[in-house]
C-alpha cells in the first residue's frame, strides 16, 4: 500500500510539477516559437544540407569509399597519401595559391579605385553602382565562363583586338603560361561586391576630417594616405578575408574553362576541381573528403592569421 501511496504522491507531485513545466514551455513557445518556425526552412537546410554532410565527410575522410560500396575504414591513410605521395595535390595547391595571391589584391585594388571614383559624387551614382555590380551577379555562372572561352581563344575577340596593333596573340585560355591569368581577369572583373562595401566605408569617413586636412594644406594624395586609407582598414580587412576565402573555394570558372580537366597541363587545376575529379571522376569519395578537410584547415589558418595580424594594421575608430 505504501508503495501505491508513494507512487500516488509521486504522481501527484508530478501533476503539480507538470503545469509549471508546461507553462514554461508554453511561454517559451509563445515568445520564440514563431521565430523558430520562420527559421525552420533554414534550420532544416543547415542541419540537413550543411552540417550533416560536413560531419559525414569528416568520417568519410578516414575511409576508402567508391560511392557505391560501403565505406571501408582506412585510418589516416588518405591524409598520409596527401602529405607524402600525391604530386597532383602539390600541383593543385600551387595553382590555387597563385590564383589567390594574384586575384585578391588585384580585385581589391580595382574595387577600391572604382569606389573612390564613384565616391567623388558622380551623377547617376545608383545607375553606375548597379552597372558595376552586374558582373558579380553573372560572374559565377556557366554562361560567363563559356563567354570567357570565346573571348580568350586563339581566334577570340581579344586576339582580334590585338591584331589591330599587329600583335599575334596565343590562345590565352588554352596555353599553360596564360590560362591562369584569364581566370584572374575573370575574378577581377567581378569587383562589384567589394566595391559596394568600399563605397559604404568611404561614405562613413567624416568630411570634417578632410576639411581640417585641407585647411592644414594637406595634398589630396596625403589625405588619401593619412585619412582615407587608415579609416578604411576595417573594410579592407573584411573584404580581404571574404575574398580570400572565396578565391580558395573558386570552382566554376576553372571547371567550365578547362572542360573539367584542369588543363592544359594542370595549369587551371584549382584545388576544388581536383577534389571534384577525385570524388566523382575517379570514385574516391573518401580521399576527396580528406582533401576537403585539408582545404578547411588551410582556409582556417589563413583566416586566423589575418585576424592575428589585423591588430597591427587595422584601425578601429573608437
Amino acid at each position: 500500500m505504501a508503495t501505491v501511496q508513494d507512487s500516488a504522491v509521486a504522481i501527484g507531485g508530478g501533476a503539480q510539477a507538470r503545469p509549471a513545466a508546461q507553462g514554461r514551455w508554453a511561454s517559451l513557445w509563445a515568445k520564440h516559437g514563431a521565430g523558430y518556425m520562420f527559421l525552420l526552412p533554414w534550420l532544416i537546410g543547415f542541419f540537413g544540407l550543411t552540417l550533416g554532410p560536413a560531419i559525414a565527410s569528416f568520417y568519410l575522410s578516414f575511409t576508402s569509399f567508391d560511392l557505391i560500396r560501403s565505406p571501408e575504414w582506412v585510418g589516416t591513410a588518405n591524409y598520409v597519401r596527401i602529405a607524402t605521395a600525391d604530386p597532383k595535390f602539390a600541383a593543385a595547391m600551387q595553382v590555387t595559391f597563385l590564383y589567390v595571391v594574384l586575384s585578391v589584391p588585384f580585385k581589391l585594388t580595382f574595387a577600391l579605385l572604382v569606389a573612390l571614383l564613384l565616391d567623388r559624387g558622380v551623377k547617376g551614382l545608383t545607375f553606375y553602382r548597379a552597372l558595376f555590380y552586374l558582373p558579380s551577379l553573372l560572374g559565377g555562372s556557366v554562361a560567363i565562363a563559356v563567354l570567357w572561352r570565346q573571348l580568350f581563344a586563339g581566334d577570340g575577340l581579344i586576339n582580334s583586338l590585338l591584331a589591330q596593333f599587329g600583335i599575334e596573340g596565343p590562345s590565352w585560355i588554352s596555353h599553360p603560361n596564360y590560362s591562369i591569368w584569364t581566370l584572374v581577369v575573370l575574378s577581377v572583373w567581378q569587383f562589384g561586391s567589394p566595391m559596394i562595401i568600399f563605397l559604404a566605408g568611404l561614405r562613413q569617413i567624416p568630411t570634417d576630417m578632410y576639411e581640417a586636412a585641407s585647411l592644414d594644406g594637406a595634398s589630396k594624395f596625403r589625405q588619401f594616405y593619412k585619412i582615407t586609407l587608415p579609416l578604411l582598414t576595417p573594410v579592407i580587412f573584411f573584404n580581404a578575408v571574404v575574398q580570400t576565402i572565396d578565391a580558395f573555394k573558386a570552382f566554376t570558372p576553372a571547371f567550365i574553362i578547362s572542360g573539367g580537366t584542369g588543363g592544359p597541363i594542370n595549369s587551371t587545376l584549382f584545388y576544388t576541381l581536383y577534389l571534384y575529379q577525385e570524388a566523382f571522376g575517379n570514385f574516391r569519395m573518401g580521399y576527396a573528403s580528406a582533401l576537403a578537410w585539408i582545404l578547411v584547415l588551410i582556409i582556417g589558418l589563413f583566416t586566423a592569421f589575418s585576424f592575428l595580424t589585423s591588430r597591427y594594421w587595422v584601425h578601429y575608430d573608437d
Partner: protein, 428 residues
Amino acid sequence: MTHRISRRTVLAGGAALLSYAAFAPRAFSQEARLRLLWWGSQTRADRTNKVSELFKKANPGVDINGEFLGWSDYWPRLATQVAGGNAPDVIQMDYRYIVEYARRGALAPLDSYLGSVLKVEDFDEVQIKGGSVDGKLYGISLGANSTAMMVNTVAFEEAGVDLPTPSTTWEELARMGVEITKAGKRKGYYGLSDGSGVEPLLENWLRQRGKALFTADGKIAYDANDGAEWFAMWQKMREDKACVPADIQALDQFNIETSPLSLGNAATSYAHSNQLVGYQAINKDKIVLKSHALISKDAKGGHYRKPSMFFSVSAKSSDPELGAKYVNFFVKDPEAAKILGVERGVPESASVREALAPSLDELGRAALDYVSGLGALAGDLPPPPPSGAGEAELALRSVAEQVAFGQLDAKQGGETLVNEVTQILSRG
C-alpha cells in the same frame, strides 16, 4: 491559458506548412515509371525521346522519364545518383566503365531475361560478350562502332590534296597535313589535329605494333619506348606544321563541338564512327570517315569493332524486368530502329540491320559501310579496360600536352606516361 489565434500564429503555421510542402516527397503515381539517363547530343536526345514515346504507346500505363547530359558531366551525375540510392532504371553505359559499375554491384545481371524478355539471339556473339563482366551479362550493346578519322573533304580539295585511303601510312598522312597547312587556303588552318593525347588513336597505333593499352589482368601493356616513339612522331608533325600547335589543340575538350575540326582549325579529327552524324550536324563542309593511318605499308590495321555503348539496368530498379523490356524494344523494334538509325552505332541485330538498311540516309549509310567495310583492318575486341582507365586517359592527355608545350621531350614523355599509368592502375 487561452489560446488566441493571432495573425502571428497563422503566419508561423503557414511558414511551417510551406517548408513541409517543399521537403515532402512527391506523391507517387500509380503508373509504372522508368527513368532513363544517357549522354549525348541533342540529336541523340530527340531520337531517344521518340523511341520512348513509341514504347509508351505499345505499353499503356508506363511513364518514361528521360534525362541526358554531355559525356563529361554524365559520369559525375551517374555516380552521385547511384551513391544516393537514386539510380535511373535504365543507364547508358560505356565499355570503359562497365567493369567498374558491374563489380561494385550497381548493375543488375540480365542473364535471367535472355530468351524471354531480351531477344538478342541474332546479336554478334563477340558484342554480347563485350557487355559481360565476370561471366554475367550487364549491358546490351546499342550498336557497334570503331574509331575513325573524321576528314573535312572540302579542305582537302581546296588544298589539292587527295583524301587518305585505307593504306595511307602515318608518314604519308603527315605529308598531307603539311601540304594542307602550306596551301594556306583558310586562316589559321592546319592539316591535322594533334592526336598525341587521344587514347583510342594511341591504342590503334599500339595494336599495329602488336601491343595494347591494357593487359587482360588490368596492367599496362606498352613500355616507355612505345610512348617515346609515339610522342616523337607527333613532335615532328608539330614542328613540320602538319598538325595544329599545342595551344590550339588544348582547346579540344574531346567532344564534337570543341574539336579542331569543328572549330575550323584543322581538316581532321579522331573520333568514333557513330559520331559522324553529330560531326556532320555542326559542320558545313562534307565530312567523311577514314580508317586510321598505318605504321607501315604492310602493317595490319589496329581497328576493332566495339560496342559503342550499352544500356544497363540498375541493380536498385524497382522493376528490372520493365527496364529489360525497354532495352529490348530499343534494340529490336523495327520502328525504333528507323528512328535511331546508326547514331549510337550500327545495330547488332542482323534482322534490325536488314530492316534499317533501306531507310538509312547517306550519313547513316556511310557510318554503316565504314564499320562493316573495315575488313582486315579490324582485329579482336580487347578485354574491357580496368578500373582507373578513365584516369589513365586523362594522364595521357596531360603528358601529351607537356610534350606539346615543350615541358618534356618525347623520351621523358614516354617514361612519365608509363610511370603515371602504372601507378594509377596499381591504385585501382
